[in-house]
């Protein structure tokens, strides 16, 4: 259908496009800048001559980082933590959300109330630390994964999604001989892909970017995730006290950011379609 827009609608389009372009620039500029700075010469970056495109291209910062075994260890740790955390989160959250979506579940209100309680109140850092410590989880992957396994927010989104699925499907599956668990795994979860993917993505990005749990629960360098390293390089090196060679330190920051960001950035486009769907669905029905 072809419509000749009025002046008003043309103006709207123009403003709209202009605004979007501004937004795109605002969003992409930092990404490009960080990348440009990471492959530019340190002196150029320090003196502010790198504005958009790299100057005096050199890969020395990357060489330095990639030849550092700590980066690879941290990388592996981050991947490990993220994968395990995301997987377990999805399993546990869906296992809790599914029964809670059933109206006939005894004590449903109470359980929901208790879950909602944790949205507003938490034990605080020190008590949580003490629990983790007494469970003997310190300095293990479980200290990172377990305390933040179920996010109440995600639980509610998922429960809302499950509630919206037609009950008849499950009835049909039951008549065909499915147990409750089979209904969940064979019928409900495949139909809930959007919500699973978006919650998985939320969790993964969160875990990828988190440093604080690692900081307080882990004691060994060989256990540290990438973000600890990123933080160290970016925050602490702005205050280098002068010993050692600091001639590459500015580009090093940007190279580190690039290295730490690219993988998670790559995931986004592939889950985009689920992401939009999933994020919306929880909202409308909630």
């Amino acid at each position: 259908m072809k419509t000749r827009g009025s002046f008003g609608s043309k103006l709207f389009d123009a403003v709209n496009i202009g605004l979007m372009i501004v937004l795109i620039v605002v969003m992409t500029y930092p990404l490009i800048y960080v990348f440009s700075a990471s492959i530019s010469d340190n002196a150029m970056v320090m003196s502010g001559q790198v504005v958009l495109w790299p100057r005096s291209v050199t890969l020395v910062a990357y060489e330095r980082l990639l030849s550092n075994p700590d980066v690879w260890i941290s990388y592996w740790n981050t991947i490990r933590y993220t994968a395990v955390h995301t997987l377990l989160t999805l399993i546990v959250t869906s296992a809790m959300a599914y029964p809670l979506a059933k109206k006939w579940l005894p004590g449903r209100k109470t359980i929901l109330l208790m879950a909602a309680f944790t949205l507003l109140f938490s034990g605080g850092m020190i008590p949580t630390f003490l629990i983790v410590q007494n469970l003997g989880l310190l300095n293990t992957i479980w200290a990172i994964v377990l305390p933040s396994l179920v996010s109440t927010w995600h639980l509610f989104i998922m429960r809302t999604f499950f509630e919206a699925l037609p009950e008849e499907l499950e009835d049909a599956a039951t008549i065909d001989g499915c147990s409750s668990l089979q209904v969940l795994i064979r019928i409900v979860l495949p139909l809930s892909l959007p919500v699973l993917v978006s919650i998985g993505l939320f969790t993964a990005v969160n875990q990828w970017n988190s440093f604080f749990d690692a900081l307080i629960y882990l004691n060994e360098r060989s256990m540290y995730p990438l973000q600890i390293m990123v933080r160290n390089i970016i925050i602490a090196s702005s205050n280098v006290q002068g010993e050692g060679n600091t001639a590459y330190i500015e580009t090093l920051k940007y190279a580190m950011i690039t290295i730490a960001t690219v993988p998670i950035l790559c995931v986004y486009p592939f889950v985009q379609k689920y992401f939009v769907q999933g994020a919306m669905i929880g909202g409308i029905k909630g």
């Binding site: 502010g48 630390f129 410590q133 360098r221 602490a236 280098v240 600091t246 001639a247």
Partner: protein, 376 residues
């Protein structure tokens, strides 16, 4: 039973004595655990941090020496620098501290009585060096003593005779000095002329800019106050006597204020000096908006490295003049020795008004930005 931690704030000088203290404690434990005469190596945990320019490596010679000389193995728990304080606070709050840790004196005093740290008082007889240290420097004992009278850490005494040392240095763009043929100033009047000359050459700049709080160890008031009164900070020993003096009561302090006002009103001092963030301050210099600054001294070599004073590192200057100060940065003990006090350079005493006083600095080349200290 939870092992309690020995809280130490180390100076390199103390290392030998301290670790001896530790092994005394460990020995006792060992005897209880595995029976006397057991040679099983004792392992202590020790919280340290990585610096961004170089990480802690377990094969450092000093670690080997500690092990060789004490027979104690250290399990280094390494956190990154910016997370160090947080980690330490959580460890203290949850009573899960490493066996050896470097808390602030306040943390040690407050948490020692809660049984987070070991009461060193009970062990002083086994550690003669430590005992002597506390006897010689009652101020060290004072800052380490908790509410219950126990001693909970080994403080670092920084400072030197009458607090006349400097933990800051003046820096100036050497290229500009060469370009405009400026001589390093040696007194306040020359310093004023120096800034003025810079301002004349580059009217749109503020030659002097600082990135420190106005007060505090290296604050502008401290620096200029000291220039004119000789007193470090607001309350300290006067430069020429035994007396403790409140700096603003000193006649020179007004001169300092007048002088600062002069710099400020002639825009020689950055009008925003009070508000600058670290990044803004850095930008001032990178963009050439400013060219002179005063910085915390931390890594420079002592001018008289070979003298008695130099070798003593950051510790223990003779008795009554010593100043006890909390360390600004928690340092690796190994690196603690590098934080030497600068050699005292005396400011002229506050004599007649209008008389110029020498300003101080120390030759020291610093990292980037082509900033160099004005040499005398």
């Amino acid at each position: 039973m939870r092992k309690r931690t020995m809280a130490v704030t180390l100076a390199s000088v103390m290392l030998g004595g301290l670790v001896a203290g530790c092994s005394g404690k460990g020995g006792a434990q060992d005897a209880k655990g595995a029976g006397a005469g057991s040679q099983k190596p004792i392992t202590f945990t020790w919280l340290v941090y990585d610096r961004p320019e170089g990480k802690v490596k377990t094969d450092w010679e000093i670690f080997k020496q500690i092990e060789a000389k004490t027979g104690v193995k250290i399990d280094w728990q390494v956190v990154s620098q910016e997370g160090f304080t947080e980690k330490r606070q959580i460890m203290i709050a949850t009573n899960s501290v490493t066996d050896i840790i470097q808390p602030s004196n306040q943390e040690a005093r407050e948490n020692g009585p809660e049984k987070v740290f070991l009461n060193l008082k009970d062990y002083l007889n086994k550690a003669p060096n430590l005992k002597k240290f506390f006897e010689t420097y009652p101020e060290a004992k004072a800052v380490a003593t908790g509410a219950d009278g126990g001693i909970y850490d080994v403080p670092v005494l920084e400072g030197d005779k009458a607090g006349k040392g400097f933990n800051y240095i003046w820096m100036v763009r050497k290229d500009l000095m060469d370009k405009y043929n400026l001589k390093p100033p040696t007194n306040t009047e020359e310093f004023y002329q120096f800034l003025k000359a810079l301002k004349q050459q580059q009217p749109d700049t503020f030659p002097l800019s600082v990135n420190t709080p106005a007060t505090g160890d290296v604050g502008l008031y401290t620096v200029f106050g000291k220039m004119f009164t000789g007193i470090t900070g607001f309350f300290n020993q006067s430069p020429n006597g035994e007396k403790w003096e409140f700096a603003p009561y000193n006649s020179g302090y007004k001169d300092a204020l007048v002088y600062m006002n002069k710099l400020y009103s002639e825009k020689l001092l950055d009008p925003e000096f009070y508000l600058l963030t670290g990044a803004q301050w850095e930008e001032r210099f990178l963009k050439g908006k400013s060219s002179v600054t005063v910085l915390v001294e931390s890594g420079s070599e002592p001018a008289d490295g070979q003298s008695e004073e130099g070798r003593r590192g950051c510790g223990f200057q003779p008795g009554r003049h010593s100043r006890v100060r909390r360390k600004r940065h928690q340092e690796l003990p190994v690196l603690a020795g590098a934080r030497r006090q600068l050699r005292p350079r005396h400011f002229g005493q506050s004599e007649g008004q209008g008389q110029s006083r020498p300003i101080s600095g120390l030759p020291c080349q610093r990292r980037r930005h082509q900033l160099f200290v004005a040499r005398h």
